[in-house]
Amino acid sequence: MRALWSGATGADSQGSRLTLLRPRTLDEALAARADRPDALVVAGGTGVLPWLTEGLEPPALLDLSAVAGLRDVTRDGDVVVLGAGVTYTQVIEDLDGVLPGLAAAARTIAGRQVRNRATLAGALVLADPSGDTLAALVAARAEVELAGAAGARRVAVEDFVIAAGRCALGPGELVVALRVPVADGPTAYAKAGARNAMARAVCGVAVALHPARRTLTAGVVGAAAHPVVPHAAEELVARRWGALDDGAVTAFGALVAEAVDDPIADVRGSGAYRRHLAGVLAARALRRAWEDLP
């Protein structure tokens, strides 16, 4: 039985021992974060609530869901600024035009109930290396905007997610926004998992084409303990841009697989399987995106 929540029913039902902090503004949130560095931050709740159900008893909960403006989406030139509270559903329904790669990845996540609440920022902080939007964010060369007592700073997404469960958030810091460049070419996301929905990516590859620069950027999730940027594979496409034949696509896949130099082995698949998937999915994603080139 759950440690926190067993007991009688009704108004006398055994309550929870946790303290809930619920700031209304970003300043209040940062102050609370500085004041209670031991508080567990929760926003969408889809990552944290199962931990609480399993008996985790953090000294306090710092809930960001009431912070004004955290779900706002704004533009800063060619960059879309997603507040840290922006959910997958918002990306799918409102941003498919400017961030199609991110929307495509978001559509593969969980089910409707989870997508309505779960935040992209939360996925970055939880640092689950299979996070689908991580692949698209890396392919888009997005940045995480952090705020804390020491001020504001930006970190590239691929540098922010360091390992499974470990991100670059410093003490007293909060993610306040994601800065995602507007897509300037076709994108695609190819994912393999146990089911068509409600499944983590055993491997997921996002690609973004930039025809004006004749380059490709990509991101791989699920295969390693952190998102992978397949640099050599990207360079190949830039070199072969005008003449991208089947051989080049296959070579691209092989280079993406090679870029996963320390693959995860777990119940969902061996390391070799994940590397194989990375190659197959990379070639598939490239073909799909290439078909959409004007």
Partner: protein, 159 residues
């Protein structure tokens, strides 16, 4: 800090020590509202599906305190006086209810799907209801129910 929200039109005030329980636990254990079920309590099964300010959610993934000021709807609030909601009626008529445990969640998810897509294909239905599991029916009758509900709601809209 006091937490207040409405459930199916009735207002409730939640004590501080209940604000850090999940909304599901508050609904069932504190308020004795059982229309949201508890099967997995991890957001995988959808049996606790409710709508919060019109947005579909798993009540087990929401802190009760996060629902402050919100309007929560459960399947129990859908029926009118003396008649079931068209989605409920469709599930009953299609034989889509066996043990019934998943049904309230499926009814809420179906209502949400059909509000966004009035004429869903089978693929749309499967995707729209991907967050809900049924262990009894094998889903065929559930798909029948959703198709029938879509027709009924479109007919209601036209009259």
């Amino acid at each position: 800090m006091s937490v207040t929200f409405s459930v199916d039109g009735e207002a409730y005030e939640i004590a501080d020590e209940h604000a850090t329980l999940s909304l599901l636990r508050v609904l069932r254990d504190v308020l004795q509202i059982t229309a949201a079920k508890n099967a997995c309590e991890q957001g995988e099964c959808g049996s606790c599906t409710v709508a919060i300010d019109g947005e579909l959610a798993c009540a087990c993934l929401v802190l009760a305190g996060q629902a402050d000021g919100a309007s929560v709807e459960t399947a129990a609030g859908l029926a009118g006086a003396g008649s079931l909601h068209p989605v409920q009626e469709a599930f009953v008529q299609a034989g889509a209810v066996q043990c019934g445990f998943c049904t309230p969640g499926f009814v809420m998810a179906t209502r949400d799907l059909l509000a966004r897509n009035a004429d869903p294909s089978d693929d749309d239905i499967r995707e729209g209801l991907a967050g809900n599991l049924c262990r009894c029916t094998g889903y065929h009758k559930i798909l029948d129910a959703v198709r029938a509900a879509a027709v009924a709601l479109r007919e209601d809209a036209e009259t």
